[in-house]
């Protein structure tokens, strides 16, 4: 039963074309298949899911009634192991649910498992997961991307209609592009972050993966809204995204940032991108190329690195082995903390913590952390200049298709890397809604396009994606793999 979208599965349940228990039995058998092929799950929650089915009643007025999903393993789930793919949390069982998990449970969604991720959401390859790398559904020898690699791969395999992710730099949108699925992170504050193991609070966004824009509208609508436990969550009423979906986007103004476009070296990706520009023009949109201060573009990665790691080092200071998590016993409480943290984190995590501490140290803070915050503001102000005249900004999700798992990391100092591979972080700096849509294939691997809108204009972004999805004919593509 691969490849069912929310709306399809809903209709089948509604029309009694399928019995929900039979469906879930098949689903869990498929889950094992996917797990064997992609290694994308940390935990499969079959027992809990089937227990829910015992007193399940289908509600035909609720799109999400009985719909299965997967949560990234940094969403706290009461009574269910939540590891964030870190040794430190290998056996950690939270005593509470993330707000979004509660919301989806109230909607009668059924969680079937927790997905693999880069350790503590720090990374872009999913290679740092405690349970090992995750395979790309289109080619299991390639990466799924990260940090929400497990969720992206699972949705890309066609197993479940949607999965939850989190995005601090591009951790939903990059893997979505690599795995050929839709990845969306709405405005910072639109969805509560309560209970999602943080990376960097001021940049962290929660969001989801789906295979159709309709599904995305349904899921995001269900996740959104004020949460009294997250002071940064917005009081704005949640819009009816699904009801307001329209492919009529005539007269919308689209900007393409010239400096980013210029860095596309892969001719097929460039060709594909030009084609999309033409499609939007055909739909009645204006598409203009705009300049963005190049110095600021090159400053994105260092700015991000400093802010993200500074916040991360204190966000993860709670992981000390004292109250929960993997404890290494020692003679004194201080030594317990040191031993537990030494044992609990991977080398790359420790490197980031050291960097964050360096940037926050009193003697450095002004010239590193505070300066990065000021540069962040400049980057956002430059972005806002574009939004004065345009509704959305269009860009490629990545410069290349998913790399081979064995491949070494790219040179981080090239302009292509600094600008093209990292520009999605603009949406994290500014907190703006940003969506990646599958837009074609290069070397039989999927590529994605990114649409970024203004704060709280989720609907505009969804509609732009909805219109393009229709033109491209790539709705609900998935890669089941060889049986």
């Amino acid at each position: 039963m691969y490849g069912l979208t929310i709306t399809q599965l809903h209709d089948m349940l509604k029309n009694k074309e399928i019995d929900i228990k039979t469906y879930y039995e098949q689903l869990f058998s498929d889950t094992n298949e996917v797990q064997q092929r992609l290694n994308a799950f940390v935990t499969i929650t079959k027992e809990e899911a089937l227990a829910k089915l015992d007193h399940f009643q289908f509600d035909e007025n609720n799109w999400l009634s009985g719909i299965p999903f997967v949560a990234k393993d940094n969403y706290s789930t009461k009574g269910i192991k939540t590891t964030a793919s870190s040794r430190m949390l290998e056996h950690y069982v939270p005593i509470y649910n993330a707000h979004v998990i509660d919301k989806l449970a109230k909607k009668d969604c059924i969680m079937i498992g927790k997905s693999s991720m880069d350790e503590l959401a720090m990374g872009g390859t999913n290679k740092s997961a405690l349970t090992g790398p995750v395979g790309n559904p289109y080619d299991a020898t390639r990466i799924a991307g990260g940090s929400s690699g497990g969720s992206a791969a699972i949705v890309g395999s066609g197993l479940v209609p949607f999965a939850l992710g989190s995005d601090t730099g591009d951790s939903i949108r990059k893997p979505a592009g690599y795995c050929g699925v839709i990845g969306f992170k709405p405005t910072w504050g639109r969805i509560s972050r309560y209970g999602v193991i943080p990376y960097a609070s001021s940049l962290d966004h929660v969001g989801a993966f789906t295979r159709s824009v309709e599904d995305m509208a349904i899921v995001i609508e269900a996740m959104s809204g004020r949460d009294e436990r997250d002071m940064t969550s917005s009081n704005r009423p949640v819009e009816a995204y699904y009801d307001h979906l329209t492919s009529d986007i005539q007269d919308k103004k689209i900007a393409v940032i010239q400096n980013i476009y210029d860095q596309i070296s892969n001719s097929e990706i460039k060709e594909n991108f030009d084609h999309i520009i033409d499609l939007y023009k055909k739909m009645g949109c204006t598409v203009d190329f705009v300049e963005y201060d190049e110095t600021l573009l090159k400053a994105m990665l260092p700015t991000y690195t400093i802010i993200a790691n500074s916040e991360a080092t204190s966000n993860h200071a709670c992981l000390d082995g004292v109250k929960y998590g993997t404890r290494v016993d020692a003679a004194t409480p201080d030594e317990v903390m040191i031993a537990s943290r030494t044992n609990g984190f991977g080398a790359h995590i420790k490197r980031r913590f050291i960097l964050g501490n360096l940037a926050l140290a009193t003697q450095n803070q002004e010239k590193m952390f505070r300066k990065a915050q000021r540069v962040r503001r400049l980057i956002v102000e430059e972005l806002n200049k574009i939004y004065e005249n345009y509704d959305v900004i269009l860009g490629p999700t990545a410069g290349h298709v998913a790399a081979k798992i064995e491949e070494e990391e790219t040179d981080r100092l090239t302009d292509e890397y600094l600008i093209l591979e990292n520009h999605l972080v603009l949406g994290n700096f500014a907190g703006t809604p940003s969506l990646t849509l599958p837009c074609g294939f290069v070397d039989e691997m999927p590529i994605g396009i990114n649409i970024m809108g203004k704060l709280f204009e989720e609907q505009t972004v969804l509609n732009a994606a909805y219109a393009l999805e229709k033109e491209l004919g790539l709705k609900n593509k998935y890669a089941k793999g060889e049986a």
Binding site: S76, I95, Y96, M231, T232, C318, K323, Y324, M337
Partner: protein
């Protein structure tokens, strides 16, 4: 050589709000360990802080009471350090922008007034409580997240006595503003002391030591006095005071070394990303000032000016807020301000001491005390009877009228009625009249005794005496 003493105080005060500073779990004291905690207090990863509005209100109250400038743009910072009682690995506090700045408090020491300058007041959260045993440590998270305010003076306190006077008054402000029970012995009010000395005339500060773990105001004073003499000895012997943290050992009556400051921690303060700056409503801040309860000094002034109490009595009443509140309630029912004060500071205090209880726990309500005083003044009962009524009120909680009634204590003050009784008694005791005429004054005492016997002691003694003499003379 003479030295000038430089003291700065840092006071932490736990606020008695319903819930914690950044979480919804309740603020409690003395509950079973780890029963009043939620995932936020435990520092569970993924949790987020939600600011307690009442906590802010309490901080604003104290800011007003200390005449501080209030920063209406609330900002919070993270203070980062690892310690096993700090569940998040950081404490949410206000580093760069404390809610209150530049306060003042007037104190009086040995009849001399002095203004203590207060540098800042900020809001933060308490840590968990550690219980150390020989081979293990237990942690109670009930305290984790309880709202705290920290108040830091400028280094312009000059003696242990001044420090004690400041703390006494600060404590009464906490009580009068109803933000805390401020019990130093239970840790809901805590004080760290910074002490240094320098030769008089010097404009450079000497090396300071910090004294922690002080569990009473008198110990603060003692610790400072010891520490000053310790530092004096070192300097006079040509030594150097080292920057270190010390604690006061009650048994030794000395400060002893806890740790030296060489390995000072860098707290790496930076803005709390999960609480965006909050703009307080200016009117709300003003309303809090408007609604501020009367402060101790105003109360003393009112007692002296409006009720003509001696200043010393007024001070003693106000020193314990509950006693003073009791007094205020009582004088709603009488104009005998001084008498009520006397009964409170005399019999009532004695009763509290003897019974080892508090004014809130006694059975006699303020209204009854006032009514009893009224009965004495209008001569319904004698002062001697009043003592009995007082004891019975404390014992039973009944009102004075009932007690007087039940015990037949109502005085006979009618002259006619007394004259009738006097005449009856005289008629029955002709020998006593004879004795009186012969100059034996003892006879009067005997006759009064007879009258009291007949009336059950209820005859007004003054009137009885007057009428008796009149009747004796006329016979």
């Amino acid at each position: 050589m003479n030295f000038e003493v430089i003291i700065g105080l840092e006071v932490h005060c736990e606020l008695t709000t319903q819930s914690k500073m950044f979480s919804a779990s309740p603020v409690t004291f003395g509950q079973a360990p780890n029963t009043k905690v939620n995932e936020v207090d435990l520092g569970m990863t993924g949790t987020m802080p939600v600011l307690n509005k009442t906590g802010v209100e309490y901080a604003v109250r104290v800011c007003h009471a200390l005449n501080m400038e209030i920063d209406e743009l609330l900002r919070f910072d993270r203070k980062n350090y690892y310690y096993s009682d700090l569940p998040k690995g950081f404490q949410i506090t206000q580093d760069r922008f404390p809610i209150g700045r530049n306060g003042t408090m007037e104190i009086e020491v040995d009849g001399k007034k002095k203004t203590i300058e207060i540098e800042r007041l900020h809001m933060e959260e308490d840590t968990a409580k550690q219980l150390h045993f020989d081979d293990h440590t237990l942690i109670d998270y009930n305290r984790s997240g309880i709202p705290l305010i920290e108040i830091v003076t400028k280094p312009n306190i000059r003696s242990g006595k001044e420090a004690a006077a400041y703390l006494e008054k600060l404590r009464s402000i906490f009580l009068y503003t109803k933000v805390s029970d401020a019990k130093m012995e239970e840790g809901s009010m805590r004080c760290d002391v910074n002490v240094s000395i320098r030769p008089f005339g010097s404009d450079k500060f000497g090396t300071r030591t910090e004294i922690k773990n002080l569990n009473s105001i008198s110990n603060v004073q003692k610790a400072i006095e010891f520490e000053v003499s310790r530092q004096e000895k070192i300097l006079l012997q040509g030594g150097k005071v080292l920057q270190e943290t010390r604690r006061y050992d009650e048994g030794l009556k000395e400060t002893v070394l806890m740790r030296s400051k060489g390995d000072a921690v860098d707290y790496k303060y930076y803005p709390e990303p999960n609480i965006l700056p909050i703009r307080l409503d200016h009117q709300w801040v003003l309303d809090i000032k408007e609604a501020l309860p009367e402060m101790p000094e105003e109360r003393i002034k009112r007692y002296v000016e409006k009720y003509q109490l001696p200043k010393n009595d007024a001070k003693i009443l106000v020193a314990t807020k509950e006693i003073s509140d009791y007094y205020d309630e009582a004088i709603r029912y009488t104009k005998e301000y001084k008498l009520v004060c006397n009964w409170l500071l005399g019999e009532t205090m004695a009763y509290l001491n003897k019974s080892n209880t508090t004014i809130e726990a006694i059975k006699m309500i303020p209204k009854c005390l006032a009514e009893m005083v009224n009965c004495v003044v209008d001569e319904t009962i004698s002062s001697k009877q009043a003592k009995k009524v007082f004891d019975l009120m404390m014992e039973t909680g009944k009102d004075p009228e009932t007690i007087i009634e039940e015990n037949h204590m109502k005085q006979i003050s009618s002259v006619d009625e007394i004259r009738k009784i006097v005449c009856d008694v005289l008629d029955k005791n002709p020998q006593s009249i004879e004795d009186y005429k012969n100059g034996k004054d003892r006879a009067v005492g005997f006759l009064v005794g007879q009258i009291m016997k007949v009336t059950g002691g209820q005859a007004n003694p003054g009137i009885t005496n007057k009428v008796l003499i009149e009747e004796l003379k006329s016979r």
